[in-house]
Symmetry: C2
Subunit: 199 residues, 2 copies
């Protein structure tokens, strides 16, 4: 059966999105077809606006509507702390915790020789430039705890040795609510090595 062309096009477009397969795309498309026209147009407009209105903060690379994001622009944030993350989405994850009140710096990825991502593709120069004023006292490396994140963390730590700034990394250990019995050995091993004093 030939599916009506506009329907086939939207199914194809939707299935390009991550975690959406042909069947989900078809269900979504048929849902849109049954929805109110106003609702469907609102979705289309939101998609276009997203690309047209959103830019990246000229200081930290965070998602922003203005040239500077609302974190860099907020004088109440601790200007002496910079948390280095891979992607802007990681900022959302850290902000949700309400545990951090410093600034951020988005690297835009991690070192990954296999996929051709080298030092020059990351926003490292911008980070080093932010250290020049001398107002930053600590850099927190918050990259994902996988092989590439580890390699990038070590690379940055080495690079930052020459600057008079404290360099830390976020803790690796058992996740809250996790179970020692079922955790993988690498995580348990790291949790033991990174033990902290209680008394």
């Amino acid at each position: 059966m030939q599916i009506a062309e506009p329907l086939q096009i939207i199914i194809d477009e939707l299935s390009k999105l991550p975690s959406i397969g042909k069947r989900t795309a078809q269900r979504l498309a048929l849902h849109l077809l049954k929805s109110d026209e106003a609702e469907v147009k609102a979705l289309a407009k939101a998609i276009i606006d997203l690309k047209e209105k959103i830019r990246f903060c000229e200081i930290c690379g965070n998602i922003s509507v203005e040239p500077r994001c609302n974190i860099c622009d907020n004088p109440k944030r601790d200007q002496s702390l910079i948390c280095v993350v891979e992607e802007a989405s990681d900022i959302i994850a850290i902000e949700k915790t309400n545990e951090y009140n410093g600034l951020y710096h988005v690297l835009g990825g991690v070192l990954s020789p296999l996929s051709g991502k080298g030092v020059e593709s990351l926003q490292i120069k911008g980070l080093l430039k932010r250290l020049e004023g001398g107002s930053v006292s600590e850099i927190i490396l918050a990259l994902n705890p996988d092989t590439e994140g580890e390699a990038t963390t070590l690379y940055l730590a080495k690079l930052l040795k020459e600057y008079s700034v404290k360099v830390t990394r976020i803790a690796r250990g058992l996740p809250i609510g996790g179970d020692l019995e079922f955790a993988d050995p690498a995580t348990v091993g790291r949790a033991v090595l990174s033990r902290i004093n209680l008394l």
Copy 2:
């Protein structure tokens, strides 16, 4: 943290879609943000085109670009068979089997007193009108085998008794690849009752 407004809007819009929660919506939105502008615009255009170009076939209610769908319009299809389905998406499911070469009729739902869907909300008049010419010899009822589908099937069968037309329903039984041991009693019971002659 205040997420940039255009991003928050698209997350809200996406999470209105079925089977897409807040987290998936956020992942999709961030994916769109990183995608090529051309790709994102193609998606937005496909969504708008879907609503503007797609209509419903004036004969059977199938999804169509023209006033008549490509099934009703195809002289090679068996004009004496009408398969009655709940939604246009069911037509796609049946067409995929390549086992049926007749026409369709979309009811637009099933009788559901609890959600206020009565006889008048279904496309039953249109179906009866199609029987007037006398060229239809068989009506196949292919509604979902749930309580409401069953009730609607029985209602339609009773209604069609007055017409000189054969009325059948699609078989209910064990699904292909299914396992007798793990099938629910209602399905196994129906499979036994609906047994067919082999010799």
